[in-house]
């Protein structure tokens, strides 16, 4: 029974974990916007989520080891070797914030549905 509940929530839980991780990565990029030779990084969310789902229990996302960090392709080269594009990072950050909240809401709704089923 508990296993079924876990199965139902695991997709959104994994998504939420990965959204939190991506938020941290994007915050790192924004924090290092003025650091010489820093290269902006990001990861493929869809790929990371499917690999977290494939690993079963959902621990794959938490471990963070299975996620492949990729360097962002700079749109305009800068003299100090920094590849952070502040506009792009801020945009991605806002986008990720909304999607984190979306995952949170879906998860909340799922919990409410289950609670309704339990309490009748």
């Amino acid at each position: 029974m508990i296993d079924r509940l876990d199965q139902m929530l695991s997709f959104q839980a994994d998504a939420l974990k990965l959204r939190a991780q991506r938020q941290t990565v994007l915050a790192t990029n924004i924090a290092n916007a003025d650091t010489p030779n820093y290269k902006a990084v990001d990861f493929d969310f869809a790929k990371a989520l499917s690999s977290a789902q494939g690993s079963g229990s959902g621990d794959g996302a938490a471990a963070g080891g299975s996620i492949e960090m990729l360097y962002r392709e700079p749109s305009q080269a800068s003299l100090d070797g920094n590849s952070v594009d502040m506009d792009a990072e801020r945009g991605q950050f806002a986008d990720n914030t909304i999607k984190y909240e979306a995952a949170l809401r879906v998860l909340n709704a799922q919990i409410k549905t289950m609670l309704a089923a339990v309490t009748g």
């Binding site: 939420l16 939190a20 991780q21 938020q23 941290t24 990565v25 915050a27 790192t28 924004i30 924090a31 290092n32 916007a33 003025d34 650091t35 010489p36 030779n37 820093y38 990084v41 990001d42 990861f43 938490a62 963070g64 080891g65 996620i67 960090m69 502040m86 801020r90 950050f93 914030t97 984190y100 909240e101 949170l104 998860l107 909340n108 919990i111």
Partner: protein, 135 residues
């Protein structure tokens, strides 16, 4: 690895940017200081930022100030024979502070600071919403 790491990363950036702002303030304040403690004109200083990887696989990298370096460019010579510190030819060595550069530096530091504050606020909002999960 959690959303709490955002606070670590962003606050390291806040510290670095505020030090940069401090150094800029010092440069601007001393733009006309012809004599420092060693008797020579003030030398402009610049901070050097350094990325400090915390968790390379997770992509977390903090910022730190690797050091404060003196601007190696020569002091500006200004012709002013009546100045008490003028040399035999009547020139005074003025600080090598470029006020325009410093103003640009100040604006850049303040914008970066603001961005990081906003990032922290967003992370805080998300965490607060996460706390209400299942209620």
């Amino acid at each position: 690895m959690s959303l709490f790491d955002v606070f670590d990363v962003s606050s390291s950036a806040l510290t670095a940017q505020s030090q940069r702002l401090n150094v800029t303030a010092s440069n601007l304040a001393n733009a006309d200081s012809v004599a420092g403690p060693d008797g020579t004109a003030y030398k402009a200083r610049q901070v050097v930022f350094q990325a400090v990887p915390q968790d390379a696989e997770g992509g977390i990298t903090k910022v730190s100030v690797a050091g404060v370096v003196e601007d190696p460019s020569p002091a500006k010579s200004v012709f002013n024979p009546s100045h008490p510190l003028a040399d035999a030819q009547g020139y005074v060595k003025m600080p090598n502070v470029n006020v325009v550069d410093e103003m640009v530096n100040m604006m850049s530091a303040s914008r970066s600071y603001q961005s990081n504050v906003e990032v922290m606020n967003t992370a805080k909002t998300l965490l607060q919403k996460t706390l209400t999960l299942g209620q």
